[in-house]
Structures are given as C-alpha cells and as structure tokens.
C-alpha cells in the first residue's frame, strides 16, 4: 500500500509541475498577443446567470469587429462560479493573478458580489456587477472608499427597485384597480433585506396596507402552505421579491388557482425560457425589469435584444442587458484612462456617462449615500414593469413606453373583476 501511495504522490507531483509549466506557457503566449482581457464570473447554469457571459461576449464581438479598443481586441474569459461564493473568489483570484484581466464583470447574486468586493479591493481589480442588487455593496464602498473603490454597482440597488415597484403599484394597482392591501412575499437572501425594508416603508405610503411580510426559504419546493396562509389574510395583491426561486411559486400559484395577483420582482421571469419552464403558468405575472425586448428604453435596447436572440435563440435575462453595457463601459473607460492601470480605470469609470440598453448610466459619486451605484430617476434609469402575456414579455408600465395593458388570468379575482 505504501509503495502504491508514494507512486501516486510522485505521479501527482509530476502532473502538478506539468500543469504549472503549461499554465506558465499559456500565460506567456496571452501576454504576447496583448488582448484587453475582461473576466466574467457568473452562475452559468442559472437562468439569470448565463445571460451575463452571453451579453458580455456579444458586446466584445461588436467592439472587436469595429477595431477593438485602441487596436486591442477584447477577450472575454469566462468562469462558472456554480452559484458559490467560494468558487467565485477562487475564480476572481485566478482572473487577477493568472489571467491578468483588466476588469471583472461578476454575478447576479448579492452573496457572491459581497464576497468578491474585498478581493476586488485587495487585488486592485475593478469589478462591475451586472445583476446583484443588495444595497450593502455600495454601502460598504461608502464606509471604506479607499479600499473598496474598485467595485461598481451596475444594476439597480434593492432599495431603488422597491421604489420603482411602489411607483408602478401606485399607478397600476392603487389608482386604477383601487387595491388597498398587500402581502409582501420575498425569498430569504442578502438582496431582499433592503428590498423588504423599503417595501414596508413605501407600500403604506402609496396606500397599500401591508397585512403580512413573508420571507420564504430559497429551498422551498411546496408553496401550498404559504399561499394558503396568504389567501386566509385576503390581501388584494402579493408583492414579490423572488430571484433564486421563481418557476415553482409561479406554477403552483397557477395550478392551485390562487385568486390573488402577483406583482413585483421575479428575476427568473425576465428570461424568455420562463414561459416554457412554467408551461405557460407565467401568464399574468407582472415583474420589474430595467429593459425589455419589446421596449425602446434607448435606441440600443431593441437592437441588442434582437442580436442576442439571433445568437443564442432566447431573449436575454435581465443581467444580459447590463453585462453587455458593462463591456462597452469598461472599453470606454480603458480608452479614456489610456490603459488598464486599475486606479486610472476606476477614475475613468467614475466619470462614466454612457447611454446603454437600460438607460443612461452615471455612477453616483463618492459623496453620495451609495457611491458607485447607478443614478436612478428620469433622464437616467427608470425601470419598467413587464407582464407575461401568451408567451411574450409585454411592457405594461410606465405609460409612455408601455406596449400593452396589464391583465390577470381568469382565476385571479380583483375588486374590479368581482364588480364586473
């Protein structure tokens, strides 16, 4: 046994040395070609995660076709973090130490981005998240700007999203359908902490009394007891905060014919595969998105969505739009910074004023409450409410850009439908 073990040890050592040699050679070759490397760390098996490398690769191809960045071709290096913060940290270290990326675009999960944030600071590698929402990402930058200034929040914060949902709920549910009560149903995750806190503040302000606040485990598979409890409380609407779960609560809502509409955030619903995954149970689900494939939020939105569908066969999930924009923003910052020096790149990124697929991107300054968060509001990023309608995502809010009207499935009973 002993000799066999030592043989294995020797073989392992040889393999390790060989691997290191190969890795060293590869690194050398890559430096000689001198492409502009951007690392993309994402949850590639997840519906919202796969859109991140897909969107980034599409942008890189377009930029490279147009001649690259100061003659340098963009090279996207993908890492699958398997929805694990520790895998993501290892990927980030590899991206910085071995692959020598200029910047990283990372994850739609707040837990992952919060784990990467200190590494972005330690390794002086600028990072943009195209999909995580937790307010804590930028709160930390405020607390320790000098160390954490390398992180940029490329998606709306949870608080901003909650405010947008409340604005939409005021117009669509309170003013038009005269709804008065709501139950907040969110998954227990880092991003929903600030989201729920803001929901509980803004919903009463718009005239929706919150009857209950349910935080469900992301591992939940049977939602029957939850819907049963909510139905017993007789709210007019369920305001959602869902991302890690989505298909199952939607299908069970439809199969059990829960007579209360769902309105709010359902990240999985932002991907076009959601209709097929739920066998059409998504009909009438209303959810928030920064961009939708049918809405010209900016002149870039629809061409991007079309190019994405042509390349990948499905509509982009929400983080696909932002990842696509992020590559353009990094390329633009590299041009303005005159290279990839991390501190100069951070300075250039801070001065970003870029019209992308989701609106006009301007990062908030060092003195704001949330440094490096997106500026939200008219003229910047406003957000949309989109509804699944017979297999299509149709924008139903705000009125100026809406392509259709909100309508719930027959089993949903609103005050208006009861009156009719």
């Amino acid at each position: 046994m002993g000799s066999r073990t030592s043989a294995w040890t020797r073989a392992g050592a040889c393999a390790a040395v060989a691997t290191l040699c190969v890795a060293g050679m590869t690194g050398g070759t890559a430096r000689a070609a001198d492409p502009l490397k951007i690392g993309v760390i994402a949850e590639e098996s997840a519906i919202s995660g796969i859109a991140i490398p897909n969107g980034a690769k599409l942008a890189a191809e377009e930029i490279n076709k147009a001649g690259g960045v100061n003659g340098r071709m963009i090279q996207i290096i993908e890492y699958d973090d398997h929805a694990s913060a520790s895998d993501a940290v290892r990927a980030f270290q590899r991206a910085a130490h071995e692959d020598h990326v200029a910047a990283v675009i990372a994850s739609y999960m707040s837990e992952v981005v919060l784990a990467l944030e200190p590494w972005s600071g330690r390794l002086h590698t600028p990072m943009i998240t195209p999909g995580a929402a937790s307010d804590n990402i930028t709160k930390r930058i405020k607390e320790d700007y000098d160390h954490l200034k390398y992180t940029f929040h490329g998606y709306m914060t949870s608080t901003s999203i909650a405010d947008i949902v409340c604005d939409a709920a005021k117009d669509m549910l309170v003013d038009k359908l005269h709804m008065q009560t709501a139950v907040v149903m969110s998954e227990d995750a880092a991003w929903t902490g600030p989201l729920d806190a803001e929901y509980l503040k803004c919903l009463p302000k718009i005239g929706l009394k919150v009857l209950d606040h349910i935080r469900l485990s992301p591992d939940t598979t049977d939602f029957t007891p939850i819907y049963n409890k909510i139905e017993g409380e007789k709210p007019d609407v369920i305001i959602t905060g869902l991302s890690h779960v989505g298909v199952q609560p939607t299908v069970q809502w439809q199969q059990q014919q829960v007579p209360i509409p769902m309105f709010g955030i359902s990240s999985q619903a932002t991907s076009s595969t959601f209709w097929k995954d739920t066998n059409g149970a998504a009909q009438g689900v209303v959810f928030n998105m920064a961009s939708a494939p049918d809405t010209p939020v900016t002149p870039k939105t629809i061409p991007f969505a079309k190019a994405y569908v042509a390349k990948y066969g499905i509509d982009p999930g929400y983080a696909g739009y932002t990842a696509y924009d992020d590559v353009y923003m990094i390329a633009d910052a590299v041009k303005r910074a005159g290279g990839t020096d991390p501190d100069k790149l951070v300075d250039a990124l801070e001065k970003t004023d870029y019209v992308g697929t989701i609106g006009r991107v301007v990062f908030r300054g060092r003195d704001s409450e949330f440094p490096h968060a997106l500026t939200i509001g008219k003229g910047y990023i406003t957000g949309l409410m989109v509804e699944w309608d017979h297999g299509k995502q149709v924008t139903v809010w705000p009125e100026g850009v809406a392509e259709g009207k909100m309508s719930f499935p027959a089993f949903v009973k609103t005050k208006q439908s009861s009156a009719n």
Binding site: D219, T278, N279
Partner: protein, 291 residues
Amino acid sequence: MLTLQILIDGFAISSLYALGAVGFTLIFGVCGVLNLSHGAIMVAAAVAAWVFAGTYGAGPVGGALGGVVVGLVVAYVTYGLIVRPIQRSRLIPHEEKEIFVLTSTLLWGIMIQEAIAYFFTSNPKTVPPVIPGVINIAGVRTPTNELLTAVVSLGAIGLLWVLVNGTRRGRALLAAAINPRGLTLLGFELDRIYLLVWTIYGLLTGIAGVLLGAFLGVSSDNVGTLTASAFSIVVLGGLGSVSGSLVAAFVVGYLETCTAYLVSPTIRTVPVLLLLVAVVYVRPQGLLGRR
C-alpha cells in the same frame, strides 16, 4: 378547513415520498445496493418528461411516458455501468464492495446532476399536469394533479405488492432479499432477479420523478435533497423494509406538512431530522427494521 387541507396535502406528498422510497429500499433489500444516484434518476425522469412534453410536443401523457422510460434507462445504465462491474470485480475485496458502490453511485449522481444543469440549466422545470384544473373538496381547492399524484403513487405501490406476493418471480425476489445463496442453490439465476429488481426500481423511480416534476417541479439542484429524503425515510422505516418505508413516508409527509402549516414553511424539514436522530439513538434498526 385547515385540518382538511393538511390531510389532503399531507396525503399527496406522503404517497409521493412512499413511491420514491419504496424503490430505494427494494434495491437495498434485494441487491444490497445503497444507490446514492437515486435523486439524480428522479430528476432525469422529470426533466426528460418536461423536454418530451414541451420541446418535442409529445403532450402531457407522452411526456410522462417518455420520462418514465428515461428513468428506466438511467436505472439500467446505473446497474450495468456502475454497480454490476463493481459487484463482479475481482480486484475489489468483497468487504469493500459496498463502500465502492456507495461512492460510485454518489459520483454517478453528481455526473447526472451536472449534465442536466449543463444541458437544461439548473432552473426548475415543471412537467405539465396530465389533468389540469382544481377540484373543490369540502371547501378546499385542490389541484386535480395533486390527487392524481396520490392515486398513481399508491396504485404503483399496490401493483408492486401484487407482484411480490402474488407471483413466483415476486416471491423469488423476496427470497433473494432473505437468502440469496439458498436461492442460487434452488436453481434461480441471481443475475436475472437483480435485473428484474432494477427494472422495477427504474419504473418506480421514473414514475416518482415525473409525478414530483408535475406536482412541485424539480431542478438539478434538488438531486442531493431527494436522495437524502429517500435515505431518511428508509432509515426511519428500517433499511430494506418495504412496509417500514411506507409507514415512514407517511410519518415524514404528515410531519412536514403539519410543520409547514402550523409552525412555518421555513423549518419544514427540521422536525423530521430531529425524529430521525431520535430513532437512530433509540431504535437503530428503524421503525419496522428486522435487526
């Protein structure tokens, strides 16, 4: 009203648990195999049903049948490619074979899980229900699909009971669980019995996977939990005891449902795990275990 709701939901979920666990315990009882790729086979069947029904337009019934067939095929592959070569290997010492089977089926399950995640994403899939709609049972709105889940699960278990107790092959199967050597001396080919058991196992697990996919939905991320859940039920009922597994499935199903409705859905599985720990301490052979 709440009591009736708990009774109905608990019954459906318990029946499904029973179906999932019966195959698992049967394969252990007769072949001595703790198949840790059990959850992966269930998920493979469910995802296949979803693909056949949606992408290939086979409809809910065609999809369900396709899913069961895939469950059966994956079970055969598990036996032919993973378990049998280890059992017949001369290089692996006899006393180490169980641990080899345990490890290899675990790894095989992870391979199936990763393959499903790679080709179909880890996003949950729901199999279209064979009979959609709801039925009102004394004021409780119950999806027809939920009732169908219970009926099909118990029907499949009933058929298994008839097969085991009412046919010669079935009795041979029972005998193999008690004394395989004696059975060989009587002229039975153990290989054929094992193949029969794996066929039954594949069908039961395939049906359980498809029903689970239609009732609650499945994702490749559920593989570990499903195996652990079947394992817990089987340990609770007594390893290798089919009737023990049935009792344990209903104990687990109702305990979980009561917890979800009366305490909180978040801690649904906690009391079951505590019960499992208690049973392992007080009665290690399980509720109806032989030893």
